[in-house]
Protein backbone atom coordinates (compact mmCIF):
# COMPACT_ATOMS: atom_id res chain seq x y z
CA UNK A 1 0.00 0.00 0.00
CA UNK A 2 2.70 2.44 1.03
CA UNK A 3 4.76 1.32 -1.94
CA UNK A 4 1.95 2.19 -4.31
CA UNK A 5 1.53 5.60 -2.78
CA UNK A 6 5.25 6.35 -2.87
CA UNK A 7 5.38 5.31 -6.51
CA UNK A 8 2.40 7.50 -7.37
CA UNK A 9 4.01 10.42 -5.55
CA UNK A 10 7.19 9.86 -7.48
CA UNK A 11 5.23 9.95 -10.72
CA UNK A 12 3.72 13.31 -9.78
CA UNK A 13 7.18 14.69 -8.94
CA UNK A 14 8.48 13.41 -12.25
CA UNK A 15 5.53 15.06 -13.98
CA UNK A 16 6.35 18.51 -12.61
CA UNK A 17 10.02 18.01 -13.42
CA UNK A 18 8.89 17.40 -17.02
CA UNK A 19 6.71 20.51 -16.98
CA UNK A 20 9.71 22.55 -15.81
CA UNK A 21 12.33 21.13 -18.14
CA UNK A 22 10.41 20.35 -21.34
CA UNK A 23 9.92 23.95 -22.49
CA UNK A 24 13.64 24.55 -21.95
CA UNK A 25 14.77 21.37 -23.71
CA UNK A 26 12.35 22.11 -26.49
CA UNK A 27 13.87 25.57 -26.93
CA UNK A 28 17.36 24.03 -27.16
CA UNK A 29 16.17 21.49 -29.72
CA UNK A 30 14.34 24.10 -31.78
CA UNK A 31 17.42 26.32 -31.80
CA UNK A 32 19.20 23.58 -33.75
CA UNK A 33 16.48 23.00 -36.35
CA UNK A 34 15.62 24.78 -39.58
CA UNK A 35 12.53 26.99 -39.71
CA UNK A 36 10.83 24.44 -41.92
CA UNK A 37 11.47 21.71 -39.37
CA UNK A 38 10.10 23.90 -36.57
CA UNK A 39 6.90 24.58 -38.49
CA UNK A 40 6.58 20.99 -39.64
CA UNK A 41 6.42 19.48 -36.19
CA UNK A 42 7.37 21.00 -32.85
CA UNK A 43 8.37 17.59 -31.45
CA UNK A 44 10.57 16.23 -34.23
CA UNK A 45 14.34 16.00 -33.76
CA UNK A 46 16.55 18.13 -36.00
CA UNK A 47 17.78 16.25 -39.07
CA UNK A 48 21.17 17.88 -38.61
CA UNK A 49 22.41 20.18 -35.84
CA UNK A 50 22.22 23.70 -37.24
CA UNK A 51 24.78 25.59 -35.20
CA UNK A 52 24.62 28.32 -37.83
CA UNK A 53 21.40 29.47 -36.12
CA UNK A 54 23.48 30.31 -33.08
CA UNK A 55 26.04 32.19 -35.15
CA UNK A 56 23.25 34.13 -36.84
CA UNK A 57 21.65 35.03 -33.50
CA UNK A 58 25.01 36.05 -32.07
CA UNK A 59 25.98 38.33 -34.95
CA UNK A 60 23.01 39.42 -37.03
CA UNK A 61 20.49 39.52 -34.21
CA UNK A 62 23.14 41.15 -31.99
CA UNK A 63 22.73 38.75 -29.05
CA UNK A 64 26.49 39.01 -28.57
CA UNK A 65 26.25 42.79 -28.29
CA UNK A 66 23.32 42.61 -25.87
CA UNK A 67 25.24 40.13 -23.74
CA UNK A 68 28.24 42.45 -23.63
CA UNK A 69 26.02 45.43 -22.69
CA UNK A 70 24.43 43.37 -19.93
CA UNK A 71 27.80 42.29 -18.56
CA UNK A 72 29.05 45.90 -18.48
CA UNK A 73 25.92 47.32 -16.84
CA UNK A 74 25.31 44.49 -14.38
CA UNK A 75 29.02 44.22 -13.50
CA UNK A 76 29.31 47.95 -12.87
CA UNK A 77 26.07 48.16 -10.93
CA UNK A 78 26.91 45.10 -8.83
CA UNK A 79 30.32 46.48 -7.88
CA UNK A 80 28.85 49.88 -7.00
CA UNK A 81 25.96 48.37 -5.03
CA UNK A 82 28.20 46.10 -3.00
CA UNK A 83 30.74 48.83 -2.25
CA UNK A 84 28.26 51.55 -1.29
CA UNK A 85 25.83 49.14 0.33
CA UNK A 86 28.38 47.50 2.59
CA UNK A 87 29.90 50.87 3.57
CA UNK A 88 26.51 52.26 4.43
CA UNK A 89 25.37 49.15 6.28
CA UNK A 90 28.61 49.09 8.26
CA UNK A 91 28.38 52.74 9.30
CA UNK A 92 24.71 52.42 10.26
CA UNK A 93 25.36 49.24 12.21
CA UNK A 94 28.57 50.15 14.05
CA UNK A 95 28.61 53.94 14.52
CA UNK A 96 26.39 56.18 16.62
CA UNK A 97 25.64 59.52 15.00
CA UNK A 98 22.77 61.94 14.60
CA UNK A 99 20.23 60.74 12.03
CA UNK A 100 21.37 57.13 12.02
CA UNK A 101 17.92 55.63 12.69
CA UNK A 102 16.25 58.09 10.34
CA UNK A 103 18.50 57.11 7.43
CA UNK A 104 18.04 53.42 8.16
CA UNK A 105 14.24 53.61 8.20
CA UNK A 106 14.15 55.80 5.09
CA UNK A 107 16.08 53.09 3.28
CA UNK A 108 13.89 50.28 4.58
CA UNK A 109 10.76 52.21 3.60
CA UNK A 110 12.18 52.44 0.07
CA UNK A 111 11.71 48.69 -0.29
CA UNK A 112 7.94 49.03 0.16
CA UNK A 113 7.47 51.38 -2.78
CA UNK A 114 6.65 49.89 -6.18
CA UNK A 115 9.06 50.98 -8.93
CA UNK A 116 6.03 51.90 -11.05
CA UNK A 117 5.39 54.86 -8.77
CA UNK A 118 8.83 56.33 -9.48
CA UNK A 119 8.90 55.45 -13.16
CA UNK A 120 7.70 58.70 -14.76
CA UNK A 121 9.74 61.17 -12.63
CA UNK A 122 12.76 58.85 -12.81
CA UNK A 123 12.66 59.06 -16.59
CA UNK A 124 12.83 62.87 -16.41
CA UNK A 125 15.54 62.88 -13.72
CA UNK A 126 17.75 60.62 -15.83
CA UNK A 127 16.91 62.62 -18.94
CA UNK A 128 17.84 65.94 -17.31
CA UNK A 129 21.16 64.49 -16.22
CA UNK A 130 21.77 63.53 -19.86
CA UNK A 131 22.05 59.89 -18.87
CA UNK A 132 19.27 58.31 -20.95
CA UNK A 133 20.61 55.32 -22.85
CA UNK A 134 24.08 55.44 -21.31
CA UNK A 135 25.95 52.75 -19.44
CA UNK A 136 26.70 54.94 -16.44
CA UNK A 137 23.09 56.17 -16.21
CA UNK A 138 21.80 52.63 -16.06
CA UNK A 139 24.52 51.57 -13.62
CA UNK A 140 23.71 54.41 -11.21
CA UNK A 141 19.96 53.77 -11.33
CA UNK A 142 20.39 50.00 -10.88
CA UNK A 143 22.68 50.58 -7.91
CA UNK A 144 20.32 53.12 -6.32
CA UNK A 145 17.40 50.69 -6.46
CA UNK A 146 19.46 47.73 -5.22
CA UNK A 147 20.83 49.73 -2.29
CA UNK A 148 17.96 49.44 0.25
CA UNK A 149 17.88 45.67 0.31
CA UNK A 150 21.67 45.39 0.37
CA UNK A 151 21.93 47.73 3.34
CA UNK A 152 19.03 46.08 5.13
CA UNK A 153 20.56 42.62 4.71
CA UNK A 154 24.15 43.55 5.60
CA UNK A 155 23.11 45.78 8.51
CA UNK A 156 22.01 42.72 10.47
CA UNK A 157 25.21 40.98 9.44
CA UNK A 158 27.59 43.71 10.62
CA UNK A 159 25.65 43.99 13.89
CA UNK A 160 26.34 40.35 14.60
CA UNK A 161 30.11 40.60 14.17
CA UNK A 162 32.16 40.70 17.41
CA UNK A 163 33.29 44.19 18.46
CA UNK A 164 36.54 42.96 20.05
CA UNK A 165 38.29 42.37 16.72
CA UNK A 166 37.62 45.91 15.51
CA UNK A 167 38.81 47.36 18.83
CA UNK A 168 42.01 45.36 18.65
CA UNK A 169 42.62 46.70 15.14
CA UNK A 170 42.06 50.29 16.35
CA UNK A 171 44.59 49.77 19.15
CA UNK A 172 47.06 48.47 16.57
CA UNK A 173 46.75 51.82 14.81
CA UNK A 174 44.35 50.92 12.03
CA UNK A 175 42.28 53.77 10.55
CA UNK A 176 38.48 53.67 10.32
CA UNK A 177 38.61 52.83 6.64
CA UNK A 178 41.36 50.29 7.33
CA UNK A 179 39.23 48.52 9.93
CA UNK A 180 36.34 48.37 7.49
CA UNK A 181 38.24 47.11 4.45
CA UNK A 182 40.81 44.87 6.13
CA UNK A 183 38.95 43.52 9.15
CA UNK A 184 35.17 43.82 8.98
CA UNK A 185 34.57 43.28 5.26
CA UNK A 186 36.46 39.96 5.19
CA UNK A 187 34.56 38.81 8.27
CA UNK A 188 31.25 39.61 6.56
CA UNK A 189 32.11 37.50 3.54
CA UNK A 190 29.27 34.93 3.84
CA UNK A 191 26.72 37.75 3.98
CA UNK A 192 28.36 39.53 1.06
CA UNK A 193 28.21 36.37 -1.05
CA UNK A 194 24.50 35.85 -0.30
CA UNK A 195 23.46 39.39 -1.04
CA UNK A 196 25.83 39.52 -4.01
CA UNK A 197 24.15 36.52 -5.64
CA UNK A 198 20.75 37.99 -4.85
CA UNK A 199 21.68 41.33 -6.40
CA UNK A 200 23.37 39.80 -9.41
CA UNK A 201 20.24 37.90 -10.40
CA UNK A 202 17.99 40.84 -9.65
CA UNK A 203 20.07 43.15 -11.83
CA UNK A 204 20.62 40.58 -14.59
CA UNK A 205 16.87 40.11 -14.86
CA UNK A 206 15.88 43.80 -14.89
CA UNK A 207 13.38 44.57 -17.61
CA UNK A 208 11.25 47.58 -16.64
CA UNK A 209 14.09 50.00 -15.85
CA UNK A 210 16.08 49.45 -19.07
CA UNK A 211 12.86 49.49 -21.10
CA UNK A 212 12.21 53.04 -19.95
CA UNK A 213 15.72 54.41 -19.43
CA UNK A 214 17.67 52.71 -22.20
CA UNK A 215 16.00 53.47 -25.54
CA UNK A 216 19.12 53.11 -27.72
CA UNK A 217 19.04 49.71 -29.52
CA UNK A 218 22.85 49.60 -29.55
CA UNK A 219 22.87 49.69 -25.76
CA UNK A 220 20.03 47.18 -25.20
CA UNK A 221 20.54 44.72 -22.37
CA UNK A 222 19.79 41.05 -22.98
CA UNK A 223 16.24 41.02 -21.59
CA UNK A 224 15.33 44.06 -23.66
CA UNK A 225 17.02 42.82 -26.80
CA UNK A 226 15.36 39.45 -26.60
CA UNK A 227 11.92 40.97 -26.11
CA UNK A 228 12.35 43.27 -29.10
CA UNK A 229 13.70 40.39 -31.21
CA UNK A 230 10.62 38.36 -30.32
CA UNK A 231 8.62 41.04 -32.06
CA UNK A 232 10.85 41.80 -35.04
CA UNK A 233 12.08 38.24 -35.72
CA UNK A 234 8.47 37.15 -35.56
CA UNK A 235 7.77 39.39 -38.52
CA UNK A 236 10.76 38.12 -40.44
CA UNK A 237 9.88 34.66 -39.12
CA UNK A 238 13.44 33.69 -38.30
CA UNK A 239 12.20 31.37 -35.60
CA UNK A 240 15.29 29.23 -35.31
CA UNK A 241 17.43 32.35 -34.87
CA UNK A 242 15.17 33.58 -32.10
CA UNK A 243 15.26 30.19 -30.36
CA UNK A 244 19.04 30.27 -30.62
CA UNK A 245 19.12 33.73 -29.06
CA UNK A 246 16.88 32.53 -26.25
CA UNK A 247 19.13 29.56 -25.53
CA UNK A 248 22.27 31.72 -25.61
CA UNK A 249 20.60 34.01 -23.05
CA UNK A 250 19.73 31.07 -20.80
CA UNK A 251 23.10 29.30 -21.00
CA UNK A 252 25.24 31.54 -18.73
CA UNK A 253 22.65 31.29 -15.95
CA UNK A 254 22.36 27.54 -16.39
CA UNK A 255 26.12 27.06 -16.21
CA UNK A 256 26.33 29.25 -13.10
CA UNK A 257 23.49 27.27 -11.52
CA UNK A 258 25.09 23.90 -12.24
CA UNK A 259 28.36 25.10 -10.69
CA UNK A 260 26.99 26.94 -7.66
CA UNK A 261 23.47 25.60 -7.22
CA UNK A 262 23.73 25.13 -3.46
CA UNK A 263 25.03 28.67 -2.80
CA UNK A 264 22.54 30.21 -5.22
CA UNK A 265 19.52 28.57 -3.63
CA UNK A 266 20.77 29.33 -0.13
CA UNK A 267 21.55 32.96 -1.04
CA UNK A 268 18.19 33.62 -2.68
CA UNK A 269 16.07 32.04 0.03
CA UNK A 270 18.06 33.72 2.80
CA UNK A 271 17.36 37.01 1.06
CA UNK A 272 13.62 36.41 1.00
CA UNK A 273 13.30 35.57 4.68
CA UNK A 274 14.90 38.76 5.94
Amino acid sequence: MIGVRARFLHLVLLGWAAVVTLPLLWAVMSSLKTDAEIFDSPWSLPSRLRWENWARAWEQASIGRYLLNTVVVVGGALFLTMLLGSLMAYCLARYKFFGNRFIYYTLVAGMLFPVFLALVPLFFVVNQLGMLGTYHGLILVYAAYALPFTVFFLHAFFRGLPAAVAEAAFIDGCSHAGVFFRVMLPMARPGLVSVGIFNFLGLWNQYLLPLVLNPDPDRYVLAQGLASLAVSQGYRSDWSGLFAGLVIAILPVLVAYVLFQRQIRAGLTAGALR
Partner: protein
Protein backbone atom coordinates in the same frame (compact mmCIF):
# COMPACT_ATOMS: atom_id res chain seq x y z
CA UNK B 1 37.95 55.38 19.48
CA UNK B 2 40.35 56.76 16.93
CA UNK B 3 39.94 60.28 15.56
CA UNK B 4 38.72 60.78 12.03
CA UNK B 5 35.39 59.12 12.71
CA UNK B 6 33.33 61.87 11.11
CA UNK B 7 35.58 62.12 8.11
CA UNK B 8 35.19 58.40 7.52
CA UNK B 9 31.43 58.56 8.08
CA UNK B 10 31.08 61.43 5.62
CA UNK B 11 33.16 59.70 2.98
CA UNK B 12 31.26 56.44 3.40
CA UNK B 13 27.72 57.76 3.70
CA UNK B 14 27.45 60.78 1.45
CA UNK B 15 27.93 59.10 -1.96
CA UNK B 16 25.25 56.43 -1.40
CA UNK B 17 22.91 58.98 0.17
CA UNK B 18 23.24 61.30 -2.82
CA UNK B 19 22.66 58.39 -5.19
CA UNK B 20 19.62 57.27 -3.24
CA UNK B 21 18.27 60.79 -2.92
CA UNK B 22 18.58 61.64 -6.61
CA UNK B 23 17.37 58.39 -8.17
CA UNK B 24 14.96 56.97 -5.58
CA UNK B 25 13.62 59.50 -3.08
CA UNK B 26 13.24 62.46 -5.41
CA UNK B 27 11.33 60.49 -8.10
CA UNK B 28 8.99 59.00 -5.48
CA UNK B 29 8.34 62.46 -4.01
CA UNK B 30 7.83 64.01 -7.46
CA UNK B 31 5.37 61.27 -8.42
CA UNK B 32 2.98 62.37 -5.68
CA UNK B 33 3.14 65.93 -6.99
CA UNK B 34 2.85 65.02 -10.68
CA UNK B 35 -0.24 62.93 -9.95
CA UNK B 36 -2.12 66.19 -9.29
CA UNK B 37 -0.95 67.93 -12.48
CA UNK B 38 -1.59 67.74 -16.21
CA UNK B 39 2.15 67.39 -16.95
CA UNK B 40 2.64 66.30 -20.55
CA UNK B 41 6.41 66.52 -20.85
CA UNK B 42 6.77 70.28 -21.22
CA UNK B 43 7.84 71.53 -17.80
CA UNK B 44 6.91 75.17 -18.51
CA UNK B 45 3.31 74.12 -19.07
CA UNK B 46 2.27 72.34 -15.87
CA UNK B 47 -1.01 73.06 -14.09
CA UNK B 48 -2.33 71.70 -10.86
CA UNK B 49 -5.61 69.98 -11.62
CA UNK B 50 -6.55 68.70 -8.18
CA UNK B 51 -8.13 65.29 -8.11
CA UNK B 52 -9.07 65.29 -11.79
CA UNK B 53 -6.58 62.56 -12.71
CA UNK B 54 -7.97 60.28 -10.04
CA UNK B 55 -11.52 60.96 -11.17
CA UNK B 56 -10.55 60.05 -14.72
CA UNK B 57 -8.89 56.91 -13.41
CA UNK B 58 -12.21 55.67 -12.05
CA UNK B 59 -13.84 56.23 -15.44
CA UNK B 60 -11.02 54.76 -17.56
CA UNK B 61 -12.41 51.42 -18.77
CA UNK B 62 -8.99 50.04 -19.70
CA UNK B 63 -7.44 50.90 -16.32
CA UNK B 64 -10.42 49.38 -14.53
CA UNK B 65 -9.98 46.26 -16.64
CA UNK B 66 -6.34 46.22 -15.58
CA UNK B 67 -7.38 46.59 -11.96
CA UNK B 68 -9.76 43.63 -12.26
CA UNK B 69 -7.10 41.50 -13.97
CA UNK B 70 -4.54 42.32 -11.29
CA UNK B 71 -7.21 41.31 -8.78
CA UNK B 72 -7.61 37.97 -10.52
CA UNK B 73 -3.83 37.55 -10.58
CA UNK B 74 -3.81 38.36 -6.88
CA UNK B 75 -6.18 35.48 -6.19
CA UNK B 76 -4.83 32.92 -8.60
CA UNK B 77 -1.05 33.34 -8.53
CA UNK B 78 -0.36 33.17 -4.76
CA UNK B 79 -2.93 30.42 -4.14
CA UNK B 80 -1.79 28.28 -7.07
CA UNK B 81 1.88 28.76 -6.41
CA UNK B 82 1.73 28.21 -2.65
CA UNK B 83 -0.50 25.13 -2.94
CA UNK B 84 1.83 23.52 -5.48
CA UNK B 85 4.96 24.56 -3.58
CA UNK B 86 3.69 23.22 -0.24
CA UNK B 87 2.81 19.94 -1.87
CA UNK B 88 6.15 19.55 -3.65
CA UNK B 89 8.12 20.67 -0.60
CA UNK B 90 6.43 18.04 1.55
CA UNK B 91 6.73 15.39 -1.17
CA UNK B 92 10.46 15.91 -1.71
CA UNK B 93 11.30 15.45 1.96
CA UNK B 94 12.52 11.88 1.69
CA UNK B 95 15.95 10.82 0.54
CA UNK B 96 16.19 10.23 -3.20
CA UNK B 97 13.64 12.89 -4.06
CA UNK B 98 15.83 15.87 -3.13
CA UNK B 99 17.30 16.36 -6.64
CA UNK B 100 13.83 17.35 -7.83
CA UNK B 101 14.15 20.58 -5.82
CA UNK B 102 17.28 21.46 -7.79
CA UNK B 103 15.37 21.08 -11.06
CA UNK B 104 12.22 22.83 -9.85
CA UNK B 105 14.21 25.86 -8.72
CA UNK B 106 15.83 26.65 -12.06
CA UNK B 107 13.10 28.85 -13.64
CA UNK B 108 13.60 31.29 -10.75
CA UNK B 109 16.91 32.22 -12.34
CA UNK B 110 15.45 33.13 -15.72
CA UNK B 111 14.62 36.74 -16.41
CA UNK B 112 10.96 37.60 -16.99
CA UNK B 113 11.82 38.51 -20.56
CA UNK B 114 13.16 35.00 -21.23
CA UNK B 115 10.17 33.38 -19.53
CA UNK B 116 7.82 35.54 -21.57
CA UNK B 117 9.47 34.75 -24.91
CA UNK B 118 9.69 31.05 -24.05
CA UNK B 119 6.04 30.81 -23.12
CA UNK B 120 4.98 32.79 -26.14
CA UNK B 121 6.58 29.96 -28.15
CA UNK B 122 4.88 27.33 -26.02
CA UNK B 123 1.48 28.86 -26.77
CA UNK B 124 2.11 29.47 -30.50
CA UNK B 125 -0.85 27.93 -32.34
CA UNK B 126 0.73 25.88 -35.13
CA UNK B 127 4.28 25.10 -34.13
CA UNK B 128 4.00 25.62 -30.35
CA UNK B 129 4.88 23.07 -27.70
CA UNK B 130 1.46 22.93 -26.07
CA UNK B 131 -0.61 22.26 -29.20
CA UNK B 132 2.07 19.87 -30.42
CA UNK B 133 1.79 17.99 -27.13
CA UNK B 134 -2.00 17.84 -27.28
CA UNK B 135 -1.82 16.47 -30.81
CA UNK B 136 0.80 13.91 -29.79
CA UNK B 137 -1.32 12.51 -26.94
CA UNK B 138 -4.45 12.37 -29.06
CA UNK B 139 -6.22 15.39 -27.62
CA UNK B 140 -6.05 17.40 -30.81
CA UNK B 141 -9.58 18.70 -30.18
CA UNK B 142 -8.29 20.68 -27.18
CA UNK B 143 -5.88 22.65 -29.33
CA UNK B 144 -6.39 26.40 -29.14
CA UNK B 145 -4.74 29.56 -30.30
CA UNK B 146 -4.11 30.21 -26.63
CA UNK B 147 -3.02 33.83 -26.50
CA UNK B 148 -5.52 34.93 -29.14
CA UNK B 149 -8.65 33.92 -27.22
CA UNK B 150 -9.87 36.59 -24.79
CA UNK B 151 -11.15 34.02 -22.29
CA UNK B 152 -7.87 32.11 -22.17
CA UNK B 153 -5.10 34.65 -22.65
CA UNK B 154 -4.91 35.88 -19.04
CA UNK B 155 -4.92 32.32 -17.72
CA UNK B 156 -2.01 31.55 -20.02
CA UNK B 157 -0.09 34.43 -18.44
CA UNK B 158 -1.03 33.17 -14.95
CA UNK B 159 0.22 29.67 -15.82
CA UNK B 160 3.57 31.07 -16.92
CA UNK B 161 3.83 33.08 -13.68
CA UNK B 162 3.08 30.06 -11.52
CA UNK B 163 5.45 27.89 -13.55
CA UNK B 164 8.28 30.31 -12.91
CA UNK B 165 7.58 30.86 -9.20
CA UNK B 166 6.81 27.40 -7.78
CA UNK B 167 10.38 26.15 -7.52
CA UNK B 168 11.59 29.05 -5.43
CA UNK B 169 8.89 28.47 -2.83
CA UNK B 170 9.52 24.72 -2.83
CA UNK B 171 13.07 25.48 -1.71
CA UNK B 172 11.89 28.13 0.77
CA UNK B 173 9.26 25.87 2.33
CA UNK B 174 11.41 22.77 2.41
CA UNK B 175 14.16 24.66 4.25
CA UNK B 176 11.56 25.68 6.83
CA UNK B 177 10.17 22.13 7.02
CA UNK B 178 13.60 20.70 7.72
CA UNK B 179 13.89 22.80 10.85
CA UNK B 180 10.78 21.20 12.37
CA UNK B 181 11.86 18.85 15.20
CA UNK B 182 11.54 15.19 14.21
CA UNK B 183 10.03 14.14 17.55
CA UNK B 184 6.89 16.13 16.71
CA UNK B 185 6.35 13.85 13.72
CA UNK B 186 7.15 10.79 15.79
CA UNK B 187 4.65 11.82 18.46
CA UNK B 188 2.01 12.40 15.78
CA UNK B 189 2.73 8.98 14.26
CA UNK B 190 2.32 7.37 17.69
CA UNK B 191 -1.03 9.11 18.06
CA UNK B 192 -2.06 7.53 14.76
CA UNK B 193 -2.20 10.71 12.65
CA UNK B 194 -2.27 10.14 8.88
CA UNK B 195 0.05 12.01 6.53
CA UNK B 196 -2.60 14.55 5.58
CA UNK B 197 -3.41 15.34 9.22
CA UNK B 198 0.30 15.68 10.00
CA UNK B 199 0.73 18.03 7.08
CA UNK B 200 -2.24 20.18 8.05
CA UNK B 201 -1.80 20.15 11.83
CA UNK B 202 1.98 20.18 12.20
CA UNK B 203 3.86 21.07 9.04
CA UNK B 204 1.82 24.03 7.80
CA UNK B 205 1.40 25.77 11.20
CA UNK B 206 5.10 25.44 11.93
CA UNK B 207 6.22 26.98 8.64
CA UNK B 208 3.49 29.63 8.64
CA UNK B 209 6.04 32.47 8.74
CA UNK B 210 7.43 31.35 5.39
CA UNK B 211 3.93 31.00 3.95
CA UNK B 212 3.16 34.55 5.04
CA UNK B 213 6.31 35.81 3.35
CA UNK B 214 5.30 33.91 0.22
CA UNK B 215 1.85 35.53 0.19
CA UNK B 216 3.37 39.00 0.38
CA UNK B 217 6.00 38.44 -2.32
CA UNK B 218 3.59 36.71 -4.68
CA UNK B 219 0.95 39.33 -4.01
CA UNK B 220 3.35 42.09 -4.97
CA UNK B 221 4.33 40.14 -8.10
CA UNK B 222 0.63 39.71 -8.95
CA UNK B 223 0.05 43.47 -8.76
CA UNK B 224 2.79 43.82 -11.38
CA UNK B 225 2.63 41.28 -14.21
CA UNK B 226 3.77 44.00 -16.60
CA UNK B 227 6.76 42.31 -18.24
CA UNK B 228 5.00 39.02 -19.03
CA UNK B 229 1.93 40.75 -20.43
CA UNK B 230 3.92 43.32 -22.38
CA UNK B 231 6.09 40.69 -24.10
CA UNK B 232 3.75 37.70 -24.36
CA UNK B 233 0.36 39.03 -25.30
CA UNK B 234 -0.90 40.50 -28.54
CA UNK B 235 -1.33 44.22 -28.56
CA UNK B 236 0.13 44.09 -25.84
CA UNK B 237 -2.66 43.71 -23.31
CA UNK B 238 -4.95 42.07 -25.85
CA UNK B 239 -6.82 40.50 -27.39
CA UNK B 240 -9.32 43.29 -26.79
CA UNK B 241 -7.88 44.35 -23.44
CA UNK B 242 -8.34 40.89 -21.97
CA UNK B 243 -4.84 40.79 -20.48
CA UNK B 244 -4.48 44.48 -19.59
CA UNK B 245 -2.76 45.11 -16.24
CA UNK B 246 -2.37 48.40 -14.37
CA UNK B 247 1.36 48.62 -15.01
CA UNK B 248 0.76 48.37 -18.75
CA UNK B 249 -1.81 51.20 -18.63
CA UNK B 250 0.72 53.33 -16.77
CA UNK B 251 3.50 52.56 -19.21
CA UNK B 252 1.31 53.23 -22.25
CA UNK B 253 -0.13 56.49 -20.93
CA UNK B 254 3.32 57.78 -19.99
CA UNK B 255 5.61 56.64 -22.74
CA UNK B 256 3.24 56.25 -25.69
CA UNK B 257 0.68 59.04 -25.10
CA UNK B 258 2.91 61.39 -23.06
CA UNK B 259 0.22 61.82 -20.36
CA UNK B 260 2.77 61.87 -17.56
CA UNK B 261 0.54 63.45 -14.92
CA UNK B 262 -2.20 60.92 -15.50
CA UNK B 263 0.31 58.05 -15.48
CA UNK B 264 1.69 59.30 -12.17
CA UNK B 265 -1.81 59.15 -10.71
CA UNK B 266 -1.89 55.49 -11.75
CA UNK B 267 1.45 55.04 -9.99
CA UNK B 268 0.00 56.50 -6.80
CA UNK B 269 -2.99 54.18 -7.08
CA UNK B 270 -0.68 51.17 -7.52
CA UNK B 271 1.36 52.31 -4.52
CA UNK B 272 -1.66 52.46 -2.22
CA UNK B 273 -2.90 49.10 -3.47
CA UNK B 274 0.51 47.55 -2.76
CA UNK B 275 0.60 49.06 0.72
CA UNK B 276 -2.95 47.91 1.49
CA UNK B 277 -2.10 44.45 0.27
CA UNK B 278 0.99 44.17 2.49
CA UNK B 279 -0.88 45.35 5.60
CA UNK B 280 -3.91 43.20 4.81
CA UNK B 281 -1.81 40.08 4.19
CA UNK B 282 0.06 40.54 7.45
CA UNK B 283 -3.23 40.91 9.31
CA UNK B 284 -5.12 38.14 7.52
CA UNK B 285 -2.39 35.55 7.82
CA UNK B 286 -1.58 36.36 11.44
CA UNK B 287 -1.73 33.35 13.70
CA UNK B 288 -0.80 32.51 17.23
CA UNK B 289 2.92 31.81 17.41
CA UNK B 290 3.53 28.10 17.79
CA UNK B 291 5.93 27.00 20.48
CA UNK B 292 8.27 24.27 19.37
CA UNK B 293 10.59 24.16 22.34
Amino acid sequence: MRPGKYRFLAGAMIPPLVLYGVFVISPYAQAFYLAFTDFNGVSSDVHLVGLENFGRLLRDPLFLKGLRHNGLLLLAVPLGTIALALFFAAATGRRGTRPYRVVYFFPQLLSVAIIAVLWQFVYTPNSGLLNGFLRAVGLASLRRSWLAEPDLALWCVIAAMVWAAVGFYVVLFSAAMESIPVDLYEAAALDGAGPFAVFRRITVPLIWDSVQVAFIYLGIAALDGFALVQIMTVGPGGPDGSTEVMGLSLYRNAFTYGKYGYASAMGVAIFFLTLTLAVFTLRATKREAVETA
